[in-house]
Structure formats: structure tokens, C-alpha cells
Symmetry: C2
């Protein structure tokens, strides 16, 4: 038997900060908040979790692929948002699904949806469960029975087309699994969201996940060649096409459908050759505004770096990439085809043109496997460990929130001021004013950045969720007011739904509902997500 | 008063081949067909065209923006497909709209749709009228009155955002107009479909038009930041966003909606700086297969050339770019930011690796305005003049058809054989076996090319449309059978509709219809296009 995942938080059961590390972290955070004390809570054990008995019994024909095992039910209760983990620390698993389904093939997925429709149940598609927006949770006040449909057994790479550099992959494949299966072919999807280890291809497609590439191929959308989706009405299968112009494309309806229209069982994905050339630089800026301008210059230069991440001084400090006095811009190129000297040299010029300090010796380095040094390496390390730290501090009464958006360059300055101000003001309101807000750009486009904000502040144990909600609402309202999107790549889920409905044109939402009714006439799929 | 466009074919009235040039062309084609004679028909004059009286009268409130002028009605009867021009030579303008509307603003567009709904009319959105797929024609057998809504008065660039490199442009702006307005800002959309001179931004968006860039930004889709669409139910306006992940994106529903869901009145478009560096090469290949492999190598190298056009020997011959014995690959890079030596050098290596002959001296040349030489220049010249030649030969009883698609690299060889064979066999069947089929790639992707076929053959005057239809049907059926798309960038219109419905998943079509009913409950917009 393999390692078991925590039912209450990020990662495997045997992977966590030690009690001593948590105490250290609590002391450090307390001192950064300027005093006070933070108390470490132990994570829940399964014995502490109360689950109501399943409210219904499955038919004999499906019994084999359904479980009411408490570990599975508890593990499928929530995603991995801050609020989710706080509720877990509170031993609150009230929204637990009645049953967890583990279909082994498309026929079983279809049979489960058929049963849910006939029996008047709610069906919640479940990939890796990494949602940070309430995407896999039974809606509050839902009176119907709930079955969580976990795709973990549909986890294989089924076919590889080396010529077109594409592969047919099942929806339940986790990141590491699919990369391991592609590796012998010299191919890689190179879609590395922060959730990579515990999120699935089907989940990425359903949520329009954002990945590794900071420019050009920013979302999984760009890699999807075709897909198979099981809807309550039956199968939708699209054609493998490198490009097309035949009406509105079906794939584009299911990309971002967040489990409300069907379950993605397979997709053909565009792949990359494994990179053999790499070149990167870190540029330091005295002034934040100059770093933004340099970032814009790089993003408009037609160079298409794989990495182009701006870290404001706080973000640099808390990730260990900088000392908190300067803004950093990390730029990297990778290729399986050619040395990148011309590319990195021009990116360095863009940085220097805007007052950036760039070490003289940048340029192509062969070998992707090599450890990354300096600021880029430190940042990447922090990026991967972040979910573990987030879980730890959620158990200390510390408020932690990340939210992300996108806006055009012309409005970024006013946008950023307004959003930051709204968040700071909400933090004051809830008594978390001694915390901080940091900013990075995760992805950049020729016409604008995708800003990503991290909020950390002292909460009041037992009230953190209400405090968090005030901050979240203030940030979301400011984003919508200033013309941004409620999400660039975290998706909508239940947490963003009210602002999503403000962002989208009313007639579009009405049209989308008509589509939903066609595919899911009984409204069984993931209620509360996207649709009112 | 400006120059007037032909009501029956491509271009301005004062721009056409002379009678003598047409006679020469007829003689040349006849000899290439191996004998026989081709008779030049004179284009129709307006006096020869019979139009039935309008079947209804507009309300007084709209009378000012509606015309029943015969020139306008004749000019709005068809698009510019082969079949359209043949019908014009036959003086057949039976599907003429009853009225042509020329709204001056969004309110008038909305009022026109309101009137059409109330009065039970058909409304056909009309941009530049360059459809080659029957996209702007009243459907055969339509008993309702028909109004063609021409956006020509909504033709301005309304706002320029230099920082984000974007502009707000009205839907009725023709290519040259919008480029002229962007030029003083040092910006360019660089979307140059063959129809550029006589097609509009709104038309490009509605049809998912394919443009200048052979890689990366292949369709107008990639440049659309947001849009305003007047539907029969009201306005849909999306947000200006460089990227987003908030559910299925509204823009993606209207991209490719081909005037069936609403009328695009404005859009924010992503622009480019005007290029100042350019580098190009022409590589010759003895074997077609090697050229395909070289093209694949270039498209998978991560270099993103602006041009990457493969011309098979026939295509090279008939465009004057080659002598008909070799396959050519034209590769070009352009940039406003950096010299392109490293890029073109690597592209040249890719060609040589696959047996291509590339002149030694390729590399960056400054100045975009410079005349292009050699094969690339010859090909570009032929590309621009093509519509005039096509119109001329349509009047000689010669069959002319172009169709385009996309498929993955792994299946290209079998795909191409089958499609070519189907077309040749259909040509034999209809007695056009002495003609030819040529092939180019207009756009290429890492996972496959967009093949574009041109068919020319001797027809029987008076029967050309029936002959053409047999060839078109054979080509379309083979494309669908072999897993391609019925269109990569010409759009669906009425001509491709039967195959479009085979290509798309049935449940998706049903969902799309539900959306259509929401936005256009009376079914007034462009009936026969996309929807059955």
C-alpha cells in the first residue's frame, strides 16, 4: 500500500512540519506581527471527526465502486482553501459527502451520473481535491444526498503521438504520474501549477488551471487538443485539431466548466520536448514601478520567457528570495531546440533599460536537472513548500489568503493601489492590521499582468473564518470594481461565485444556464459552482 | 465621393483585369488544360440585374438608415465565393435582400434588430461581404423578408491604449482603415487575411478569421481582449482582460458565432509595435515529404516565425514563386524589439537538416517597408492579386475552389493522400480531370499544419456550380472522414454547414442551440448559418 494523503490538509500523512517547527514558525510570525502569542493546534485525527450516517444506499450494481469509509468521506469533504483547513482544525466535517465513488472507466462514470439523476442526488466531480475556491464541497443547505466522484482510477497515459508531440491522458491522472509516463518518450506537458503533486489533468481542464509558463502557454487551455467529457446526457468527444475555425469551439465550453457540465475522462494534450537549454536572470530594482515597466518591456518584446515573475519586496522577503528592500524580476527561458543567449541577453537589456541591476554573467546553461541557484532557486523552493506552511499557520489562528486576477497595463497602478488599500482597510476592520499584503506577478501578457496577492495577518482563533471572509469580500469587490477578473487561474468555485456573476455579462450567464440545462437537465452536477 | 466597389465581385469598380488580360489568361489556362477553348464572359452591369420589389416597407423611424437602392441590394446579395461570382455572371441576384440597413451607431443596430424581431424578418449582419462560404446570403427558400445590416458607418478606432498596446475599434472598420488610424501611434494589428482590404474587424471576429501570422497568433481570437455585441435581447459587453480563468469565457462564444448570436459593434484588440527587424529565407526541397518534416521541425522549435508557408510544386508554380519542380518553405521573422539573426539561423538549420537548400546569406534586414524579393515576394504578390484572377476565371467556365483545414502531424500524410484522391476523383467524375489541385500550409502549429488546397479545372459553362458542388462535397466528406476540421479559418457559413454538423458533437450543437434561443428567441439572425 502506498503513502496515504492527509484527509484534512495538504500532502501525505508522513509529510508535515514537526511540532517543533510549527512552534518556531509561530514564534517567528508572532514577532513579525509585533508581539502577542500564537498557539499551535494539532491537526484532527480521524477518530475526532464525526460524520453523519449516509442518508441513502447505493444500488447493488454500483455498490462495488462506492465507499462510505470515514477516511474517504472526510477526505472528500473539502478542497484545500484556507477556510477548508480551518474547518478541519475545528473538526467540522459536516458537509461530508454521503458516499465516495471510485469509477474505473467511462461506463462507470456514466452509470454514476445516471443513478444520481434518477435518485435526485448531487454529484461532485473530484480530481486531486486541491481547489482553493470551494469547488469540490457540497453546498451549504443542500438537502439532496451527495456523492463525490473521484477519478483516481482513471490515471493513465493511454497513447503517445511522438510526431505531433501529443498524448491521450485520462482525467484522473495526477501531475507526477502523467509526467512519469511521458518521460520515457522524451516528452513533458510542463504544466506545473503549485498544486501539481495533488491535482489532476481533468481538474486542470475543468478549472482552466494556470501553469509553469509565465507567458504564452499560461493556461491548460493552450495545451488541450481535444477531450472526452461524460455529461449527464451522454458523451461529448471533440476532434484532435491543432487549430480550427469552425464556429465556437466545444472544448472552450468545457474548459472552465468546473464540473458543472460533465466529467472530463480523457484529453489529448499538446506536449513539449524535455528542455535541454536553460537561461535565467534575476534583476533587482530599487523602485517597484521600474520593475513593473521592465516586466512590461520583457512581456512586449516577443521573447516569450518560460518564467517572468515579479516579486515585490515583501514577497521576495517572505519567500527567502530577497531581503525585503527591493523588487525582483526573475526571467528564465528554456528550450529543447536551441541555445538561448540572444533571448536572455535581450531580456537583461530590458531590465537594465529600466534601472534593473542584473549580474553580468547571464546566459545559456545546459541541463534542466541542475539545481537552481540564488533568488530563483529560493523562490521555487518556497513555492513548493508553501501549502505545508499555509496549513500550519491555519492551525495557529493566523489568517492567510491568496487571491489573483489580471488587468491591463494601463490600469495596473490604480488597480493595485485600490486593491491593496481595500485589503489593508479590511484587515484593520477585522483587527488584523498588523499583518501584511505581498504581491507577485505569476503570469504576464503583452497587454497586462496577472497580479497575485498574499495576505497574512493575526486572527482571533474561532473567528478566523469570519475575519477571512471580510478580507476576501473586500478584495473581490475591489477587483470587480476596478475592471479585473475574479480569477486568473484559481477558478470560480463557490467562494468566487457572487463576484463571478458580477463580472460576467447577464445575457451570457443566461445563455450558459440554457446550455447547462441541456447537458444536465436534473441539475445534479456541482450545484453552487458558476451557476446561481 | 470615393471609389465604388463592384456589386458583383472582388474590389473596386476601377480595378479589374482588362478584357485583353482576360483573353490572355483564358488562352493560358486552356493550354494548361491541354486544349479546348475558354470564353470570356463580361461581368454584369447593374442594368442587367433584375431585383424583385421589396416585400415590405420599413417603419418611418428607421427609414433614414435603410435603402432599397439596386446597387446596394445587388451588392449585398452574395459574399465572394466562387459560386457567388458565377451566379453574378449569370445575372442571377434572386436572393437579394429587400433592404440594406446602414446604422450609424449601436442604438440603431439595436433598433434594427428590434424591428426585425417584431416584424418577423431575417437580419443578416454584413461587414465587408468577403465571405467565401455563403455567410451573408439569404437562405434558399426563406419566405420572410430580409434586411442586410451593413456596419460600414461604424468604422473608427475609438481609443488607443499605448501602454497595453491595445485599441478599441468599431466592428465595421475595414482592414486598411483601422491600420491607417493605428499607424500614427506606431501600432498595428497585423491581422492580414487575404480579404484584408475588403473585410472588417467585426467580420474577422464573427468568423474566427485567420491572419498574417503563420504561428502563434493565427486567428483573430488571439488578439481579442474584449468586445461589445448587440444581440436581439440586448448588449453583451465583456471586460478588457489580458487573460482570465473565470469559467467559460463569453468572448469565446461570440468568436465564430458568424452573425447568428449578435452583431459585434466594438472590440478591444491587442496590437503590435510596428516591426523594424525582419529576417526571412526560402528553402527548396526535392521531396515534398522532406519539406513537411522541415516545416514540422520549425514549428516545434519554439521560434514562432511570423511566416512559415509551405508551397507544394504546383502551388509554387501557379503563384510564380517556383518552377513547379520543387516544394518551397518560406520562413520569416519580424520584430520591433530585437535583431533576428539567432532565430533565422536556427530555422535555416532546421531546413538544411531535412535536405532543404537554403541560400547562405540569410539574416536580419532592417525596415519592414522594403520590397520583398525572390520567391517570398512573388508569392505575396500573387496572394494579393488572387481574388481578381479568381473572379476573372469564374467568368470563363473554369471551376475554382479553395478549401482549408487542419490536422495533426501524425495523420497528415494519409490525410493529404485521401483528400487529394477524393478531389481528383470528383474532378474526373464531373469532367474536370484535366485540372489540378495544389497545396500550401497557411498556418502551422507544434501539433499539426493547416493545409490549404486550391482546385482549378475546366468546367462546362452553365453547369459549373453543379460541378463545383460535387468537388466541394467530396473534399468536405474526405476531410470529415479523416478527422480534420471543415474549416481552419474560412468559417462555416451555409456552404460548410452540413459537414460542420458532422464535425461537432451532437450534444454540443444542442447546447449551442439552447444558447442561440436565449439570445435570439425569434431566430432572426443569419438563419442557415451554423444552426440547422
Amino acid at each position: 500500500m502506498g503513502r496515504r494523503r492527509k484527509f484534512w490538509g495538504w500532502g501525505y500523512e508522513d509529510e508535515d512540519l514537526s511540532r517543533a517547527e510549527k512552534e518556531q514558525l509561530a514564534a517567528l510570525l508572532a514577532s513579525r506581527f509585533g508581539g502577542g502569542e500564537l498557539t499551535v493546534t494539532d491537526p484532527p485525527s480521524l477518530a475526532e471527526v464525526e460524520l453523519r450516517a449516509p442518508r441513502f444506499q447505493p444500488p447493488a450494481s454500483l455498490r462495488e465502486i462506492l465507499t462510505d469509509d470515514p477516511y474517504e468521506r472526510a477526505g472528500h469533504t473539502y478542497g484545500k482553501s484556507y477556510r477548508d483547513v480551518v474547518r478541519a482544525y475545528r473538526r467540522d466535517f459536516r458537509p461530508a459527502p454521503d458516499w465516495v465513488a471510485l469509477p474505473r472507466n467511462e461506463e462507470e462514470v456514466a452509470a454514476l451520473l445516471g443513478w444520481a439523476g434518477d435518485a435526485g442526488l448531487v454529484a461532485i466531480p473530484y480530481g486531486g481535491g486541491s481547489s482553493v475556491v470551494g469547488g469540490v464541497e457540497a453546498p451549504a443547505g443542500e438537502t439532496r444526498g451527495v456523492v463525490s466522484i473521484d477519478l483516481r482510477h482513471l490515471d493513465r497515459v493511454l497513447e503517445v503521438d511522438r510526431t505531433s508531440r501529443a498524448a491521450r491522458i485520462q482525467g484522473g491522472a495526477l501531475g507526477p504520474q502523467l509526467e512519469a509516463e511521458l518521460k520515457p518518450h522524451g516528452l513533458t506537458l510542463r504544466h506545473f501549477p503549485q498544486s501539481f503533486e495533488f491535482s489532476t489533468l481533468g481538474g486542470w481542464i475543468a478549472t482552466r488551471s494556470g501553469g509553469h509558463f509565465a507567458t504564452l502557454y499560461t493556461h491548460i487551455d493552450d495545451f488541450v487538443e481535444s477531450m472526452r467529457v461524460i455529461t449527464p446526457r451522454g458523451l461529448v468527444e471533440t476532434r484532435r485539431l491543432p487549430g480550427d475555425g469552425s464556429g465556437p469551439r466545444a472544448d472552450r465550453l468545457f474548459l472552465g466548466s468546473e464540473g458543472t457540465l460533465g466529467i472530463v475522462t480523457e484529453a489529448w494534450l499538446r506536449l513539449q520536448d524535455r528542455p535541454t537549454f536553460r537561461a535565467d536572470l534575476t534583476s533587482e530594482f530599487e523602485r517597484f514601478e521600474d520593475a513593473v515597466e521592465a516586466c512590461r518591456a520583457v512581456s512586449q518584446a516577443g521573447l516569450y520567457p518560460s518564467n517572468c515573475r515579479l516579486l515585490d519586496p515583501s514577497e521576495a522577503l517572505y519567500s527567502g528570495a530577497g531581503d525585503g528592500t527591493r523588487t525582483l524580476l526573475l526571467v528564465a527561458f528554456e528550450s529543447a531546440d536551441h541555445p538561448l543567449d540572444a533571448w536572455i541577453a535581450r531580456a537583461a537589456e530590458c531590465c537594465r533599460d529600466h534601472g534593473g541591476r542584473v549580474p553580468e554573467a547571464v546566459g545559456g546553461r545546459a541541463g534542466e536537472a541542475g539545481a537552481r541557484e540564488g533568488a530563483a532557486g529560493a523562490w521555487r523552493n518556497a513555492f513548493i513548500k508553501m501549502p505545508y506552511y499555509r496549513d500550519a499557520i491555519a492551525g495557529m489562528g493566523v489568517i492567510s489568503e491568496t487571491f489573483e486576477t489580471a488587468c491591463t497595463w494601463d490600469r495596473f497602478d490604480a488597480f493595485n493601489r485600490r486593491v491593496t488599500e481595500a485589503v489593508r482597510s479590511a484587515m484593520e476592520t477585522v483587527g488584523a492590521g498588523r499583518g501584511w499584503v505581498s504581491l507577485r506577478f505569476t503570469h504576464v501578457y503583452p497587454d497586462g499582468p496577472a497580479p497575485y496577492y498574499s495576505v497574512t495577518g493575526p486572527g482571533r482563533p474561532g473567528e478566523e473564518i469570519e475575519q477571512w471572509q471580510v478580507i476576501k469580500a473586500a478584495a473581490s469587490a475591489a477587483i470587480i470594481e476596478m475592471g479585473g477578473t475574479i480569477t486568473h487561474h484559481h477558478s470560480v468555485g463557490r467562494d468566487h461565485a457572487p463576484w463571478y456573476r458580477q463580472e460576467q455579462p447577464a445575457l451570457f450567464l443566461e445563455s450558459l444556464s440554457a446550455m447547462k440545462k441541456t447537458l444536465d437537465p436534473d441539475g445534479i452536477l456541482n450545484p453552487g459552482v458558476l451557476f446561481a
